[in-house]
Amino acid sequence: MKKTFKIGGTHPKDSKLSSEIAIESFPPVPRVCISMAQHLGAPATPIVAKGDKVVVGQVIGEPAGFISGFVHSSVSGTVADVLPMADLAGNMVPHVVIDVEGDEWDPAIDRTDKIVTESSGTPEQLIAKIKAAGIVGMGGATFPTHVKLAPPKDKKAEYLILNGAECEPFVTADDRIMREKPVQIVIGARIMMRALSVEKCFIAIEENKPAAIAAMTKAAGSYVGIEVLKMKKKYPQGGEKQLIDAITSRQVPSGALPIDTGCVVQNVATALAVYEAVQKNKPLFERVMTVTGNCLQNRKNYKVRIGTPLKDILAAVGGAPVEGNMKYISGGPMMGKAIVNLDATTQKGSSCLLMLTEEETLRKPESNCIRCGKCAEACPMGLEPWLLNKLARVGDRYDDLEQNNIADCIECGCCLYTCPANIPLLDIIRVNKAEVMKIIRARQAK
């Protein structure tokens, strides 16, 4: 039986145009700029200086706080500068710029293709290793994995859920790794199960990826406690709270964390990174990224080093595919972020570079809400987006917004996607949610 979450959801066109294209290593670039803010939380502190020689896998940034992470060099060469640079939204973030010379790896890294199945170590040792490898949630949220694998003492994890739903249209990075590296992902899952001391792991994959389901089922077959689940195709199936609901029928209460339901959700790409870190000593410095779009002929699933300039990737697929205004998106079309600065570089959370033409992205003119209720039907969190929009636009109604659970919005965009009146529901909800969160935090701090 195909599982899915109970309320809301929508069905954007699949558009998995690059699912049959095998992963290819992106050719080396002359210079990389590695961001120190590739994870949720405080940006890492750079520990290299101009002129330093670095090798692939060497630590160049150390965590600056509990929720933070290590950053490693993805290339070998000389540090050209350490300075603030604009990220893809134009905000200034500290970066380490490295001029690439050769491709010399840290000798501790096992570069062979041999699959290492045996693993040892206590949960603490495993988590320490995952932390040292700088692993973050690779589905896009970039929450440091070691923090998620060490829940507070009073909470007990029961299930590990591997998220291979990849419900965003266009993106095929997870699909490809599940087909090409299923055994490694399963070993990664086993390691995380040990770190969490759980007996059961579900791997959730949407039904539109039959090859991935077959490969993962085969790889998981030899282990007890790991079960591959076929999920219905429905957006946002890969949402943390939606997956938990779909698989365990448990709902994360408003204001609570997923761990309160005994579940820890990790992305399949994160599981692969965990395998590589623990079994092969390889820190997280490269990832698979889809380069796609309806307008693009030369679609790719690239294995790119972190810090590769987006414009180099664009050049490699033949430059801007059409004349005129283009929209580049980091991530999928539903939740991805528009890129304003193509000089920005790839990060641990960059799953996709999507190209859309002006026609594809143009917003239709907004009209009045006709109270059709489609938005409320589509919202997977059971909110009433039309009401939130109305309250927000009156201004200064933060109490009412809070009471109507604006803080629960997962910013999936189902409401905006569905609205026949083209009301920019999510845009309005997002800024007001931020405002309400600020008020809540200020209250809690008191």
Binding site: A86, A89, G90, N91, M92, N325, A338, V340, T361, L362, R363, P424, D427, I428, R430, V431, A434
Partner: protein, 291 residues
């Protein structure tokens, strides 16, 4: 049939009278003594309910005034010193004079000065735009141009100039309530003293980037060169974080800095125009735009 109607009317009249009597005594007994000065103060306040005083409205402000031991910093920017004098009379205190204020938009990133680097087609709201990214020009400090300040002004004193894409404050209408300054997500509107005869000298820029970066983003940016700071004899200008700021309490309106600034980031307002013969047409146009 007709008796039923008589009985009903009579019964209801009696009930109504009884309740009226009860209510009369209840109202007498539980009457809240409200300071009559609140009403009198409310009567002198402008009644705009704009919130410029930091209260929820004029009546709320009147209550605060009555409760406060002295007027102190409580001030109605819309009514200004005249209204505050009347308020002080009611309260039997001395009025505290404050320099009248005016909203000043500190950005001169016109379409000519500041090249667009991308095209924004999202929701036309500065708040939404600012939450998404740094904006559609190279300057991440400057005006986003969606006019949240225009919507915030209850006096119709701000409008967008289509030629420059920047908001323009109508000095005659601006009451100094500060709603626009509080609304602007970039914090670039400052409430500044109106100045003697309305004359003011102000740095019209909030870009804190290093000179070269600022200049690349906008031709009219303050590059933090410090020339104005040096030329000012009254110590009114300070350059901090690559940005000059003029303290209006110290500024003596000598306007020396205006011509000293290499990027023209310092503007003067309401000074008499130099002799018309020397005045090139272009500058006149410019001045109108800046006002």
């Amino acid at each position: 049939m007709i008796t039923t109607i008589y009985v009903t009317v009579a019964a209801l009249t009696v009930i109504g009278l009884l309740i009226a009597v009860v209510l009369y005594f209840v109202a007498k007994k539980f009457k809240v003594e409200e300071d009559e000065r609140i009403d009198r103060i409310e009567a002198v306040l402008p009644g705009a309910n704009c919130g410029g005083c930091g209260s929820a409205g004029c009546r709320d402000f009147a209550q605060r005034l009555v409760k406060a031991p002295e007027i102190g910093a409580l001030f109605c920017p819309v009514g200004g010193n005249d209204v505050m004098k009347k308020v002080a009379e009611v309260l039997g205190q001395d009025a505290v004079e404050q320099a009248p204020k005016l909203a000043v938009v500190r950005c001169n990133g016109t379409c000519d000065n500041r090249q667009k680097t991308n095209y924004y087609d999202g929701v036309q709201s500065c708040k939404v735009k600012a939450a998404l990214y740094t904006g559609d020009t190279g300057c991440k400090y400057g005006c986003l141009g969606c006019g949240d300040c225009v919507a915030a002004c209850k006096f119709g004193a701000i409008s967008m100039d289509p030629a420059t894409g920047l908001p323009v404050v109508d000095e005659s209408k601006c009451t100094g309530c500060g709603s626009c300054a509080a609304t602007c997500p970039k914090g670039l509107i400052e409430m500044r003293s109106k100045g003697l005869k309305g004359r003011r000298v102000t740095v019209i820029c909030v870009n804190k980037d290093k000179g070269a970066v600022a200049r690349k983003a906008c031709l009219a940016a303050c590059i933090g060169c410090g020339k104005c700071e040096k030329v000012c004899q009254f110590g009114a200008i300070k350059v901090e974080n690559n940005l000059a700021y003029i303290d209006w309490n110290l500024c003596k309106l000598c306007t020396k800095c205006v011509s000293e600034c290499p990027t023209g980031a310092i503007h003067k307002f309401n000074f008499p125009a130099p002799k018309p013969v020397e005045q090139p047409v272009e500058q006149v146009e410019n001045k109108e735009v800046l006002l």
